[in-house]
């Protein structure tokens, strides 16, 4: 596969994969560029043990363009190292990991040789790449098309399949089941799609769980609009020759062309006959005598000759005639016009028909008179056939159709025997009305129309028929349901499986023949509220909403019913248009939720939210819909798995498949490390400018300025200019400058937030941001000590992948496999090396470099299946509890911080370590739910919060136990929760490195850490609460005491000052000395309940 892709230019690759690389929109592009630059700068300093000082400056230019510069104080960069930084974009070591595949028996929809087929992907690919030879990728050189959606427009269209791929399976495989009974079986890393606020995104099967949503096609376009079929297309020449069928109505000129263009030859028809004269045309031999005496006179030819000559479509008004025993002749048109009547008849026939040698019959219930009549009319008029109707036992009526071509044709089109019934192929290539007429016929014939449950179902023992029917419904814009049942057969004692395809509610009304309640059956057209997790404004009780604005508002928690939601929509739109709106509950709510400013102006949050609403609306109108995942389970993995490549109209590669109805399936490729080179390439592609690098080495006088450009053909960085400049202010370090297409914004997803989060995790760094408006923000350094450098370790066999292994083998100087294993890996000694070698079926004496690819795979398998000691963990780089607390304190100024650095742990051979911090109160604003700080190897993660392991850990923690209230499982209050995962290999959910995959062991580890800081927070909160209550009580009592002292004095005659003093001393004894509570506590005392002592 990779070979194929080396051929496409890097620019093309980038263009296709922009979304994966973090450049899907202008805002995100800016953040991604800054992120890559920051990573580089901080790394450079850390390696040299320099306390980092990084300046980020961003200027706005014309036309949505920005120029930014990231300047560090590391040691500068040599000319020779520049290509290394701007290394090739494509060849990440993790490349092959992203081979994503379907299991062989998964059917996909393709159009091959002009015909639409549901084919097992294994069968298709084996056919293209050849059955032999193990792993293979081959370019497809015939026309095969598959339905493929465009992420931007949401439209599905038929696109060419470019590659077929078969490779060995190295992953777990999963069966993903959704509502409507659909399922697909894929490798764990195979992406399906889902919808998020940021649009359609890929999601790996292994990350899916119940309650997630995956994309399915709602409407697959028909693969053509044919209006007639040629009967001959459905037979082979041999079949026709055997049947003695003739085509009449051939024009003189066509027949004469045999004489004119054919080559005259002489030969014996059989060894003992005499020689005769033939015309040979297109390899077809026609006896001259027959042509002269019969064919030309009566304008006909044997049907097999027509087929062999390829004249099937050249004969207008042709008729197919056959002579039966007894001289009776039957004639049907050669080209059958596809009209609604005929399609309905075919549908009926698929449902009720059967064929035997001479006749075809349709059996109806005796009450189905109308259907009998219809079938009779079509048979008689369209097909020109003779029919008989006979009453049979069980109140049924049988319509018999005679005429062997028709009988044979129906058999070809619809299959013979109940279990082999199928939809005639061309049904996928006719217009919608004709498709519907066919579906109508099927359901009329054999469907059941259950009115109470508002359900129309078709049940068959033919799995193929059911699958086709489901896809056919999809071409009508209907997502049908799939059900399977196993029936034990009383007579034979065996079992039969039946398959039902059901549609509901308004989908039934697609047909004129079944009237149903059009208000129902909307489910899959609705939008699940879960999609809005990140931009939710408030809690909602709605699980899914109608795909309109007020629906989406409800899903976001604005409005508890459509009436109120509409008011919110109305208000929001007016506010966006800067129209004047009156003060009322709605405006107040917007204000409270930060959607409008105090002055009633729309905030960025509102604008972002409305964009999300628009995006969801356009999704709802697209050819796609969402199905809820019901179950995901690991399945038995086959040896080989398959994939096809369908480059989409935009940047998408996807197709449609599934054995119980259609789902959208992604084939993607990419890499983990993207690096600054992607930013550079983005800059180059969007503005045409090269990247500028300034470098000044420590202790060197000169500052160099390099201009670097990436050759998009060779994929090599080129230094196009290198000169010494004297007008650049520099102590030492590197500065990268580029201009890009981008948009600088504030809010949640912004450069500012990104840098703030970076500053928290890197408190030993000084970071300065110059914003486009001239504003300067400084994130100060509060620690003078860098965290210890992680030690480099050799890879652990459990964490290695094939690509890495192959490279290691290539680069290793070891003479035997055994020594290779021992020297290149950690935790592999003699015994375990022997173990691995034996499992791999090797002797151990082989030279590593002679291993074949398949042996390498066996070796990898063996490595991963051998029990080994866990890897050492000193390779990790946690920053430690102290630095976490300092970072939180300096940027957030909270009242309370706590942190935990867990002991290192291992998942799948990869060591990792979790750190968690919490900050509460102080300057942290109380705006609803908690604020998340997510990090992977000290790098902030700001997108895809809802699919991140950190979020899962926080949400699965019961915060009420730790003194925080919850809203929708999320802790609320003035609180920041920081989760950091340090690992040699962080499992990201996608290539864009935006969220950590929620492997159960990782989530568990994070939860333990979160709970630990939770307990610390609880202690603080309850202490604070008690202290506050006591202080308040004491204050009250001493005031009361002073107020009543004169009264007691009057009653007792004792001096009131001394009484007051006595009361104070009693209070002191009980409550301790009066403390000087800070002013914030004083203000808040009213909220506290005064408990009794």
């Amino acid at each position: 596969m990779s070979e194929q892709h080396r051929d496409i230019s890097v620019a093309e690759f980038f263009e296709k994969n922009r979304h994966l690389l973090g450049f899907s929109n202008k805002q995100k592009a800016v953040i991604t560029c800054v992120k890559e630059g920051m990573d580089n700068a901080l790394d450079a300093c850390e390696v040299e043990r320099i306390l980092p000082e990084v300046h980020v400056s961003i200027e706005e230019m014309d036309g949505d363009k920005l120029r930014f510069q990231i300047k560090d104080n590391a040691v500068g960069i040599d000319r020779e190292k520049i290509p290394k930084i701007f290394g090739k974009l494509l060849y990440g070591s993790k490349f092959h990991k992203l081979q994503q595949s379907l299991l062989p028996d998964q059917e996909i929809m393709v159009r091959r040789e002009g015909e639409v087929r549901l084919m097992e992907i294994g069968e298709l690919c084996d056919d293209i790449v050849g059955v032999e030879g193990g792993e293979k990728t081959k370019e497809v050189d015939e026309e095969i098309k598959a339905p493929c959606f465009d992420r931007e427009t949401g439209e599905i269209s038929w696109r060419p399949v470019t590659h077929a791929i078969r490779h060995k399976n190295r992953n777990e495989t999963f069966k993903v089941e959704t509502t409507r009974g659909r399922e697909v079986e894929v490798t764990g890393n195979h992406s399906l799609f889902t919808l998020t606020e940021e649009g359609v995104e890929e999601v790996e099967a292994s990350e899916l769980g119940e309650g997630d949503y995956v994309l399915a096609p709602e409407r697959i376009p028909s693969a053509g609009e044919i209006s007639e079929i040629n009967v001959l297309d459905y037979f082979t020449a041999e079949e026709l020759a055997e049947s003695n069928w003739y085509v009449y109505g051939i024009s003189d000129s066509l027949l004469k062309s045999i004489e004119e263009r054919g080559k005259k030859i002489r030969k014996r028809p059989s060894p003992d006959s005499r020689r005769r004269t033939y015309y040979r045309l297109n390899g077809v031999e026609i006896l001259k005598d027959s042509l002269d005496n019969n064919y030309l006179k009566k304008n006909y030819l044997p049907a097999d000759k027509i087929l062999r000559l390829g004249w099937g479509n050249k004969i207008e008004n042709g008729r197919l005639r056959t002579y039966q025993v007894g001289g009776k002749e039957t004639e049907i048109p050669l080209n059958v016009e596809l009209d609604e009547k005929f399609m309905r008849f075919l549908g009926l026939f698929v449902a009720e028909g059967h064929v035997d040698k001479r006749q075809a019959g349709l059996t109806f219930g005796s009450h189905e008179k109308e259907l009998v009549q219809h079938a009779e009319t079509v048979a008689g008029q369209t097909l020109n056939l003779s029919t008989t109707v006979s009453e049979r036992e069980h109140n049924s009526v049988r319509l018999k159709v005679f005429g062997s071509p028709v009988v044979r044709l129906l058999e070809k089109l619809c299959g013979r025997g109940a279990r082999n019934k199928h939809v005639p192929e061309f049904v996928f290539r006719v217009n919608e009305e004709l498709q519907q007429a066919f579906i109508d016929g099927m359901y009329e014939g054999d469907g059941s129309d259950a009115h109470p449950s508002n359900e129309l179902s078709y049940t068959t023992t033919s799995q193929r028929l059911a699958r086709q029917l489901s896809y056919l419904w999809n071409m009508r814009g209907v997502v049908s349901s799939w059900k399977e049942r196993v029936n034990s057969n009383n007579i034979s004692g065996g079992e039969t499986k039946t398959y039902s395809v059901l549609v509901h509610g308004r989908d039934i009304a697609k047909s004129d023949r079944f009237d149903e309640d059009a208000n129902r059956g909307m489910r899959y057209r609705m939008i699940p509220s879960a999609i809005l997790e990140d931009s939710r404004i408030d809690d909602t009780s709605r699980v899914r909403v109608k795909p309109n604005k007020s629906g989406i508002f409800m899903a976001a928690g604005l409005g508890s019913n459509p009436h109120y939601a509409r008011k919110f929509v109305d208000k929001a739109e007016k506010i966006l248009n800067e129209e004047n709106v009156g003060e009322d509950y709605y405006l107040e709510t917007f204000r409270k939720k930060g959607l409008v400013s105090e002055e009633g102006k729309p905030s960025d949050k509102l604008k972002e939210f409305m964009e999300t609403v628009e995006d969801l609306l356009s999704f709802a109108q697209s050819d796609l819909c969402l199905l809820r995942v019901e179950n995901v389970e690991e399945t038995k993995s086959p040896e080989f798995v398959y994939d096809i490549s369908v480059p989409g109209s935009g940047k998408d590669e996807n197709f449609i498949g599934g054995n119980k109805g259609a789902l959208c399936i992604k084939n993607s490729r990419g890499q983990q490390g993207i690096g600054i080179s992607a930013a550079g390439l983005y800059s180059q592609l969007t503005t045409g400018n090269p990247v500028k690098i300034y470098s000044k080495k420590k202790g060197n006088e000169d500052t160099h300025m390099f201009k670097v450009r990436i050759d998009t053909q060779s994929n090599e960085p080129e230094i196009v200019e290198d000169r010494i400049v004297d007008d650049y202010e520099f102590d030492h370090g590197t500065s990268i400058e580029m201009s890009i297409e981008g948009k600088y914004t504030g809010g949640h997803h912004s450069v500012k937030t990104y840098l703030k989060n970076t500053a928290i995790m890197n408190p030993y760094a000084k970071i300065v941001l110059n914003e486009p408006d001239g504003n300067t923000i400084e994130f100060p350094r509060v620690s003078e000590s860098l965290p210890p450098m992680p030690k480099e370790i050799k890879p652990h066999p459990h964490g290695v992948e094939l690509g890495v292994l192959m490279r290691m083998v290539r680069n290793s100087g070891a003479r035997t496999i055994s020594s290779f294993l021992k020297s290149e890996f950690t935790r592999v000694g003699r015994t375990s090396a022997d173990d691995i070698i034996e499992k791999a079926g090797l002797s151990g004496k082989e030279r590593p470099s002679v291993l074949e690819k398949s042996q390498m795979e066996d070796l990898l398998d063996a490595m991963q299946n051998t029990n080994l000691q866990n890897p050492p963990t000193n390779c990790l780089s946690p920053i430690g509890e102290d630095l976490i607390e300092r970072g939180l304190k300096k940027e957030l100024n909270p009242d309370f911080v706590a942190s935990v650095t867990r002991k290192p742990s291992v998942y799948r051979g990869n060591p990792y370590q979790v750190e968690v911090g919490i900050a509460y109160g102080g300057d942290i604003e109380q705006d609803g739910t908690y604020n998340a700080l997510r990090y992977a190897n000290k790098v902030p993660l700001i997108y895809k919060r809802s699919s991140c392991a950190t979020t899962k850990a926080i949400r699965e923690t019961d915060w009420s136990r730790y003194g925080l209230s919850e809203s929708g499982n999320r802790p609320t209050g003035p609180v920041y929760i920081l989760v950091h995962m340090a690992s040699v290999w962080v499992p990201f959910t996608s290539e864009g490195k935006e969220a950590i995959a929620d492997y159960p062991e990782i989530v568990k580890e994070m939860k333990l850490a979160v709970q630990e800081v939770g307990r610390k927070l609880k202690r603080y909160l309850s202490k604070k609460r008690k202290k506050k209550a006591r202080a308040k009580k004491r204050k009250k009592l001493s005031s009361y005491g002073k107020a009543m002292s004169p009264a007691l004095s009057k009653l007792t005659g004792v001096d009131d000052d001394s009484i007051a003093e006595k009361i104070m001393s009693v209070l002191r004894e009980k409550y301790g000395k009066a403390s000087t509570e800070d002013s914030r506590d004083e203000k808040n005392t009213e909220e506290e309940e005064g408990g009794d002592s």
Binding site: K1035, L1037, S1038, S1039, Y1040, K1050, L1051, K1062, G1090
Partner: protein, 373 residues
């Protein structure tokens, strides 16, 4: 100014209270005041005397309990102020007391007393804690209630003939124990709930023509009215008739006059008139006098409506549980009221003509002895 016999004794009681608390403070104890419990649980019906009485339960009010502290302080302030009144020989109304003591507490955003509703119950607390009457503490309530009829009363040496007070009548003060009944020509005492009905009867000369002492309560009867009713019954041996609206509130007024109130159960033996009877209005009157069209609906939820009765229904239901309402007549009366969901006002009798109440209704009922016990 009435010279109450036991001023010195009261002052001693107040001083003892102060000393005890000071002592507790000096001992480092949590200062407290002991007082009888005045909640429903400690109120019982004495079926011998037919009045409500306070039980034996006591509770302590602690200073260093944040729930008690404010009331504790208020008790001290009131105790000390009362000592001052007694020493100075002055009597203050409870409203005056409230204004005397209300001021802002230094250091807190609150006053010693926020409104009179806070000081009134503390006065009662003090009365019960010390076992003295508020009059003994030199506190009086505002005069409320008026008296008309053939009786001559000596008050502070002045003789007042109550037949000669026109439509004004004699204002009933809070302390009536020192009244002397010089002469009378009355057949019974009639306590009327509303001032308007009393005025109607006076205008019709009912008190003159029927030799009736009319006491107008003006709503819930004051202590003065209740004590006076009791004195008339005790000293002159007059039958006492109570005339209220036919509704749960009216019957509760009757209940208070006859058996005493929960709040002032400790004084029932002085304030209640167990021999009193209810003359009207009754549910029976509605039928008897054809008042069906002038009834009003009861407020609140019917007991069967789910969620339990509220408002009027609840009060009626509660009263059915009172021990002194266990007679068949009362059970029937209250049940009818709940079933019909109606109430009837005294003034509904004006539906035919204004004099109907004076000329027909009351005389007929008294003659027939048509009362509720």
């Amino acid at each position: 100014m009435p010279e109450l016999q036991n001023d010195q004794e009261v002052i001693k009681k107040l001083e003892r209270l102060g000393d005890r608390i000071l002592n507790q403070i000096e001992e480092g104890e949590n200062p407290n005041i002991v007082k009888p419990v005045r909640s429903r649980s400690n109120v019982e019906f004495d079926s011998e005397e037919n009045v409500l009485k306070l039980g034996d339960s006591t509770s302590k009010r602690y200073f260093m309990n944040i729930g008690h502290a404010r009331k504790f302080m208020q008790t001290m302030l009131i105790a000390s102020k009362c000592k001052e009144f007694i020493e100075e020989g002055r009597t203050a109304s409870i409203r005056e007391l409230y204004y005397q003591l209300k001021h802002t507490i230094p250091g807190l955003d609150e006053n010693t007393l926020e409104d009179q509703d806070e000081s009134d119950p503390v006065i009662v607390d003090l009365e019960t804690a010390l076992d003295v009457l508020r009059e003994h503490l030199h506190l009086i309530a505002e005069p409320k209630g008026r008296l008309f009829g053939p009786i001559t009363i000596e008050d502070e040496g002045d003789e007042i003939n109550c037949l000669q007070l026109g439509k004004s009548g004699l204002g009933v003060p809070s302390i009536v124990d020192d009244y002397k009944f010089v002469d009378h020509n009355a057949d019974y005492a009639l306590v009327v709930e509303t001032s308007a009905m009393a005025a109607r009867l006076v205008e019709e000369d009912f008190h003159k023509e029927h030799n009736a002492i009319i006491i107008s309560a003006g709503g819930q009867p004051s202590r003065g009215v209740r004590r006076l009713t009791r004195l008339l019954s005790d000293r002159l041996d007059l039958p006492t008739y109570i005339f209220t609206d036919g509704d749960p509130y009216g019957y509760y007024i009757y209940s208070v006059l006859k058996a005493g109130s929960m709040n002032l159960a400790f004084e029932s033996k002085r304030l209640a008139t167990p021999s009193a009877n209810l003359i009207g209005m009754t549910m029976h009157d509605v039928e008897e006098y054809g008042l069906e069209n002038v009834t009003e609906k009861l407020k609140g939820k019917h007991p069967d409506s789910g969620g339990g009765p509220t408002k009027d229904y609840k009060r009626a239901k509660d009263m059915m549980g009172y021990e002194w309402f266990q007679s068949n007549e009362w059970q029937r009366e209250l049940q009818t009221m709940i079933d019909k969901g109606i109430r009837v006002e005294q003034q509904a009798l004006a539906t035919n003509n204004l004099q109907f109440v004076a000329e027909t209704y009351l005389p007929e009922k008294i003659e027939k002895g048509d009362f509720l016990p």
